[in-house]
Symmetry: C2
Subunit: 288 residues, 2 copies
């Protein structure tokens, strides 16, 4: 019997806890934590993502401080907006929506965000704090995976955890978060000689390869927990990196796509916004 | 037939290459790269280490810019010296010798060193650059291990690499450097359930646990390369974390203690000093 981890329900609970904590800590809504989302250009997918984030902020009782910049905004123009938000004490958290229009240097712009307002945990400084295990804001998606694991009772300490993929956004910080929780962590990638031999050692298998349906029954140890971070739009709807149907009766727990990791990203963004404002015990990983 | 990797010889070659490059790039010794070593207090071991580093700097034709501060120097006092060195264009590289006397906050002082002068690669910013795979100065000991591996013809890409230990100084950056060279990397530590089962998967086993003689024949796959970063003073002389005699005929290559990794640390410090001055192709890992 393989449990499908209900990411929507867990995300809902996290967001409800954030809302309750905001209401308790900030009786005056005008002083509630404020998240500045910065959207450059007209990319429709980005517009939808930012709209979802802004709605979540408002639903949590926090302040929605959006900035829309035209597609032709220069590097210096975006930098000036970020610097203004960085200096503004009314702004607790800054999110620069990616990808940016061609010609803009995303890494350089992200690094203008002060670590304390880096709600996506993507600056070089935040990466350094994570690498050193120091207090800081962690990237939302891998934080959401930790929340999923811990809220469903998966023991991380001492477990063999294998992370497929090593992106700056997910795979790499995922490995760090698992290591800091005392898992034995292996990172695999396209140069790994025998992928299945490694993934079959995993008690916790986190797949963030960005390759549709690449992981199946032959990659999974009986009893494992399998977390699928992939999301791909296909003719048959949304699918992940994992052939989840094959794992029925093999894995103990899996995350579906959609409805698994996806909803956690916005939930953890809410946690991080609250943390950036100096609060937030709303999620287990906020205590790291 | 197990090869003992001759760290002294490789370190000598690296230092000779640095000296040659310094001589070619800086015909005027007064403008050669300058390393400022900062030693606080009278710890005899630290005094020896710093004296060795300073001698290596001079032998490489670089400028030895030492600062000795009395044991009672305050946090603000050390900070002021670092800030002065950070602002001085004649100083290319800064090394704060650890450990510091009790009462001083080493992490806070190290983080005052600008990333470009952070010759030990220990600031939060340098850790972030490493985590993100961006240009930066890397910690000297793990860089030295990479140099040992590459200069002895060990293939890192696609190899199974296991790192025992996860310290900020060695184990953690070691795993990062191996991952960036496309090894499949596993980090093990005291919470790892079955240490030998994991280490026996390693083509490259780097032991940086700080526990004398903890790794022996039962932990090593035939044909592996075993790098021993440990160094311990015992009644029988210096020993490492590895029971090296047991590996004869099992491992393909091992590093002895002393004479393996140890000499590489100062060699890589010379490479990093040259790199901090904007030069340095003297070692393979300077190209990362």
């Amino acid at each position: 019997m393989t449990v499908h981890i209900d990411g929507r329900a867990i995300a809902y609970e996290v967001r409800a806890r954030v809302a309750a904590e905001v209401a308790a800590a900030f009786p005056d809504p005008a002083t509630a934590p404020g998240l500045a989302t910065v959207l450059v250009g007209e990319d429709p997918a980005s517009a939808v993502y930012v709209a979802n984030k802004r709605r979540a902020v408002r639903e949590a009782g926090m302040r929605d401080l959006h900035r829309a910049l035209p597609a032709g905004t220069t590097q210096a123009g975006v930098a000036a907006v970020i610097d203004e938000l960085a200096a503004d004490p009314a702004v607790d958290a800054i999110l620069l929506q990616l990808p940016l229009p061609p010609g803009l240097d995303a890494a350089a712009l992200i690094d203008r965000i002060p670590a304390g307002k880096d709600v996506d945990g993507l600056t070089t400084h935040s990466a350094g704090l994570l690498a050193r295990g120091e207090q800081g804001l962690r990237p939302c998606t891998p934080s959401g995976v930790i929340e999923l694991l811990e809220s469903t009772g998966v023991t991380i300490r001492g477990a063999n955890a294998v992370v497929v993929g090593r992106s700056a956004l997910v795979g790499h910080p995922m490995a760090e978060l698992l290591l800091q929780r005392d898992a034995t962590v292996t990172v695999v990638h396209r140069h790994t000689a025998d992928l299945a031999a490694v993934t079959r050692t995993a008690d916790i298998l986190v797949v963030a390869a960005g390759v549709p349906a690449m992981i199946g029954a032959e990659h999974v140890k009986p009893g494992a927990t399998v977390i699928d971070v992939g999301i791909h739009r296909t003719d048959n709807g949304l699918t992940g990196d994992v052939r989840i149907a094959e794992l029925d009766g093999i894995a103990t727990r899996v995350t579906p796509v959609p409805g698994g990791v996806g909803p956690m990203t916005i939930a953890m963004l809410m946690v991080n916004t609250l943390r950036a404002a100096g609060h937030g015990q709303s999620a287990r990983c906020s205590r790291s």
